[in-house]
Amino acid sequence: MIPNVAPAPADSAPATAAAAVQPKSGQRTAFSKVSASRLFASPGGVAGVVWLAALVVASLTAQWWLPYKTEDQDFTAVLSGPTAAHWLGTDELGRDLLSRIFAAAAGTLGTSLITVIVGVGLGTVLAMVAAGGDRTEGAISRVTEVMMSLPGTVIILAVIGAVGTNIPLIMAILGVLISAGIYRVILGQAKSLQSQLYVDAAKVDGVSTLGISLRHVLPGLTNTIVVQSALIFAVGMLIQAGLAFIGFGPPIPQPSWGGMIQGASQHVYDAPWLMVPTGAVLALTVLAANAIGNALGKSPNAGVSHLPSAAARRQRGRVVAAAVAATGAAASAADTGAIPAKGHLSVRGLSVGVDGGTPLVTGVSFDVEQGTVLGLVGESGCGKTMTALSLLGLLPAGVSATGGQILWNGKNLAAATERDMEGIRGRDIALISQEPMRALDPMFTVGYQLTAAIRRLLKVGKAEARAEALSLLEKVGIVDAKRILKTYPHQISGGMAQRVAIALALSGRPRLLVADEPTTALDVTVQAEILSLLRSLVKDSGMSVVMVTHDLGVVADICDNVAVMYAGQVVESGRTANILDNPRHPYTLALLAADPHANTAADMPERLATISGQVPQPKDWPTGCRFMARCQFAGSACAAPVPLLSSGSEDGLVRCVKADELAVEGLEWLATEVPTHHVMKIVEKDLA
């Protein structure tokens, strides 16, 4: 009978985790604004608030407007349905149901509030205390685990045996039992708040533990506390009604919802209507509380699914079909004249955007010849990963290619169906991700994952697949391949996992490898090993690679060609040597000047250059040059749209109106003065 409130049911489970870490700024005021707007943005939440408010008002004013007293008996209308005299009918003694339901409401709501206050209050305090120290956490968690594994209902009944049907006291004890579940929900969040840097800073400043809890942890928990309160309120009402139903409600003449349903159950044979009004009011009230909790608990920034739901896939199918219809993509492959050769990837005017909204990538074009490596370079947020994922049709849910072409073996992959892409992924084009540990399925052994992929992609038997897996692992430089096959991903190192991930990518013998920052998450020494592995794979197999990276060292090391991306556009492209030695776009210039590895020791400047500001958000993209706001050379001409033009060196292209001017004057991206308070901050952080 005591429902399980423990791991926040409903939609709030992932929400609390995702929303756990909030920035400090405005945290205290954030709640009232964010929560209230979230609540009123949800129709369910609004309905819930309205119903609860109406119920409270109606029951508190009941004595003035109720048509009958709760004990008035109308023997002319026993067990009647709804009539003009009795709107909701009467019970077996001819008592008016409407009057009894509303008279009972205040008590039900009030005593349920006791459970909320005790349960959520105790749970929150315990969680905040536990979050403060490891040892206290161990002890408190142990106790709450015990509490959660108790048959709560039976214990509550035993308590009733000892103290009688003292409802407020019973509801308070229920709150204590429930607090264990609340504690579990809140603890994780309290811990993540407690481990924030500003909490460390407050500790260094000598703020007391209590002060930290109240000032820095509690405000961040407010939303979760409100969500849990609403859910527990509903639980309290249900349990109270359940107790009254089995005869442990308020003393007899006093009406209670559970007691009334119990009475009604005696007449389900001759007056089934009796069940409806009380049940409906109880259910609506519980629904209202749950709706409020769910509306508040919904996370605004939930993670993105890597496998769109069936409904989302249908939606995407329509988007793609519309794009194809609009551009006539299938036909235009021929229009461009040169149909790319087999093994040659040609991207033409590719655009990627959020479905029905912001563009993320606009008009991107590049070519990858067979056996070459193209580097897609740029800062985070410039669209390089989205471009790369669109090659495999693996854009996250809610994002899709909105225009342009990805030409591969005579097909336009930008307009391909999911079924077509399934035939291409792994066999033609494969993917290596940034974080090898997260790219492998933690629940299955390396051997299972590899052999399953090989069997699927090469259509071979079990034994053959195993032999192939071993040879693949040896090919990527794993010595004890047999042992690695038996391990789970968490049992191997990051570098080893990336080798396994590469082996997995190679399992379908692809012609093109899309590598999304394959070395970023690895140790420096391992990075070099992985890069040399990739280089030798390209050399031996004639595979092409699209390498997404922000590291110009990686570009210099492995890429034949480079496309520099900024704010969803290619701003400069060409042969690696040309671009690194003779950059034409100010952004490329700036990236090189800001890269400590690109400068040799001899000409290492005293101070490295920086690029002030950040990559603009897609919604803030100007119509003209998107780099203008951060560019040291920007002028009035930059406000107009800038085309991608030949840069003059081989097949190089550059998107800058001042490119020629800059080349003639031989300007350099200069290191700017670093403001002193900036330096202070860095020093402080190091000290902490």
Binding site: P3, P7, G161, A162, L284, A291, D441
Partner: protein, 313 residues
Amino acid sequence: MALFITKRLLMALATVLVVAVLAFLLVHAMPGSPGAVSLGAGASQEAIDEVNARLGWNDPLLAQFFRWLGDAVQGNLGSSLIDGRSVSADLGNRLPVTASLAAGATVLSAVLGIGLGVTAAVRGGMVDRIVGGICGLAVALPAFWIGIIFVYLFAIQSSVFPATGYVPFEVSPQDWGMSLALPVITLAVGGAAFIARQTRASMLEALQQEHIRTLRATATSTWKILYIHALRYASLPIVAGIALQFIGLFGGSVIAEQLFAMPGLGQAVQTSVSTHDAPAVQGVVVIATVVVVAVNLVLELATKFLDPKLRAS
């Protein structure tokens, strides 16, 4: 792993002990001495005192507790103050009723809940909203109300199932199933909704994991990604949710047994609490705790076994 199991076993034992102490204290706080309860109103004070003395009611609490504990360990939970029957024997007869009820409801909730939750997560859109709405309603409706409606629909309107009563399995397996049907379904409505929500959330979280993208990049079929990889990843929180659900359903049997007149533990709690039958209350609290803790332990070990990280260590 062996260390882990030992630790958990010790903790389970400690839990039962704590509850035993708690139950003992609660029972002692009950109004009326055993003599007064067992002899009923109108008994002379001498007679009451005589019974109390025989039961050791005036001994120090600690002595009374250890005497009870010593007997309990040997399977003797004392005799009912009302009818003098052995509490252990009575509860022994009742346990199978509640166990069938709770186990049946848990299995049905798990099957229905996982099915609905996966469907909602996988299909998305309208299906997701409909399942969400149904679950919201199922959680909001009290089990006793649902139970009465089921009785009305399936026992009164059409007599598909018997409205009340319980037929032991040994008597007739078929009637046993029929007598359990309505109470099990009644309890499973809320349970299934809870597990469906848990499953949906866990599945969605699983699908947000990056390895799902790797699987798609190696042309794994959608079916395999969903039902082998994502469901496997989601299985840990789902099983944990089922374990919690069992505790709730075991408690929920109090209502189902009252509603469907089933002679189970729940009914024993309800009557013994109403009649202040101290040994019976104490016995049933301890037995219920033992069952719940034991099932929980098994399911927790199952969760650990499902997690390769914990299995290996």
